[in-house]
Amino acid sequence: MPATGSSLNLKPKAEEKGKDAIIVHNLWKSYLGQPPVLKGLSLSVPQGKTLIILGKSGVGKSVTLRQILGLEKPDEGHIEVDGIRITDLTRNKLYEIMSQFGMLFQSSALFDSMTVGENVAFYLHQHGDPKTKERIPESEVQMRVERALSKVGLSGYNKKMPSELSGGQKRRAALARLIIYEPKILLYDEPTTGLDPITAMQINELIKKTQEELQATAIVVTHDINSALEIGDLFALHHDGKIEHMDEKMEFIRSDNPLIRDFLSNAMIDEKYTLSMKGKGKGRE
């Protein structure tokens, strides 16, 4: 069982590949005067894998992410990250862990009083080098900012304000803000919601590239099934406060579970995946 006093270093060791990096056990959460949002939710994500949590709007997918990130405490249940039970940690210990987390918010959540460059440099200015925690000279910070921005296709945007960016550019800038400190756990909250199909595809490509480069463990919450199929290894259906079913990608889309069939049949699934579903008579083909 994990101990709260163990190391807070989340870097994956070679022998730990395939071990569960995130374990969520029997999570319950309710808000004042309202019925529970999470009703005993459990899931696990192996090291280096990307879990997609699908589900209708308002079922508590984002709440699940907020619990994993430590922004909210669950009423019951616990969360382990790399063997450390983060739900038992004090606020200060939790902040040590959180420096190795990264989250892409639905609204991008760029700091609107700062330029794009200052947003991307924010982590380095606050914590210094992600590995050594030592202060970095400003010239080095600017070099890393430019490198992160060029990775997401926003070279030369560092002097712009977030209000001058389009929705897709904001999402890219937010992704650059994550890439710069190379977190080992990545959480994505509806990364393509509200974007046109081409921009959504570009964001998916960037997420895939980031996953490959950082070898991070990721959870993506979305109801965009095509984006999910592009970037996910594991799939889970969030229904009525719990994980209804969790499986590998192809097994998930071939599943006979009626709730999954119902969810998939209402989605416009890309042709290359509907072929795998043939014979099940599913998907809007």
Partner: protein, 257 residues
């Protein structure tokens, strides 16, 4: 019962936040750069509005005092009346009201907007404590700047009174200042300082708390801002009464000649 429970929970959350901010400000103070920005925002940029408030209040006080007291032969006390009122009562309270409108409302709206657009969650997700990064610099700046602004406002009030009494009503300049050394004492200065310090802390903590608790998009930010201003004004008025009683009682213990 539901409303009472909600109120008590909010009060508990507020007290917890204030205790945390005190603790953070003392143990792990924010960077000087952040504090300096807030000192400028709260102090320097509030000078014009605080000057106008102090000056006009002092002028009105002098005009009323001279007009009301001259036929009773007490016009010579105009300077004393203006100075005493500004130092002990009107300086602290009017400065606090102006700072609530100019700084408190802006703090609440800014933090509220950051809350509803997930920027505060983004700070936490990058292991930056929002209370240390956003609240502590404002807390320290208000604790320092509100008393200084109050002294400035009171001085402007005394100057405004002088202009009206001397230039408008023809009072001899030395008559305006003559009674001050005899009747203005350290207790008056201490009283004004304590009041302004407490008002500053009330304004910043209430505004930050309401900002951080904002929910419900742009409309929620508007509601939170209005709400924080109303709560600040009410808290300042109630605190002023309690502080006046407490300070008057302390006079007989610590300041009695």
């Amino acid at each position: 019962m539901g409303k009472l429970r909600q109120f008590l929970e909010s009060l508990g959350d507020y007290i917890t936040m204030v205790a945390q901010v005190f603790w953070i400000s003392l143990r792990t103070p924010p960077s000087w750069r952040l504090i300096r920005e807030e000192l400028y925002e709260v102090g320097v940029l509030s000078l014009p509005v605080v000057s106008i408030t102090g000056l006009s209040t002092g002028m009105v006080l002098a005009a009323q005092a001279f007009f009301q007291l001259s036929d009773k032969g007490l016009a010579g006390t105009t300077g004393l009346m203006v100075t005493k009122s500004m130092l002990v009562e009107l300086g602290p309270i009017l400065t606090a009201f102006m700072i609530t409108g100019r700084v408190g409302a802006a703090i609440c709206a800014e933090l509220g907007t950051m809350k509803v657009t997930e920027q505060i969650d983004a700070l936490s997700s990058m292991a930056v404590h929002p209370l240390r990064y956003l609240v502590a610099p404002r807390f320290i700046a208000m604790a320092i700047m509100v008393p200084i602004l109050t002294v400035f406002s009171s001085a402007m009030g005394v100057l405004g009174g002088f202009i009206v009494a001397v230039d408008l009503y023809g009072m001899a300049p030395h008559t305006y200042f003559e009674p001050l050394p005899s009747y203005i004492n350290w207790f008056d200065l201490f009283s004004g300082f304590v009041k302004s310090f407490i008002f500053g802390l009330l304004i910043v903590t209430i505004s930050c708390y309401r900002g951080l608790m904002t929910r419900g998009g742009a409309a929620g930010v508007g509601r939170a801002t209005t709400n924080s201003v109303v709560i600040c004004y009410s808290a300042i008025l109630v605190a002023n009464f309690l502080l006046t009683i407490g300070l008057n009682a302390s006079y007989w213990i610590f300041f009695k000649p």
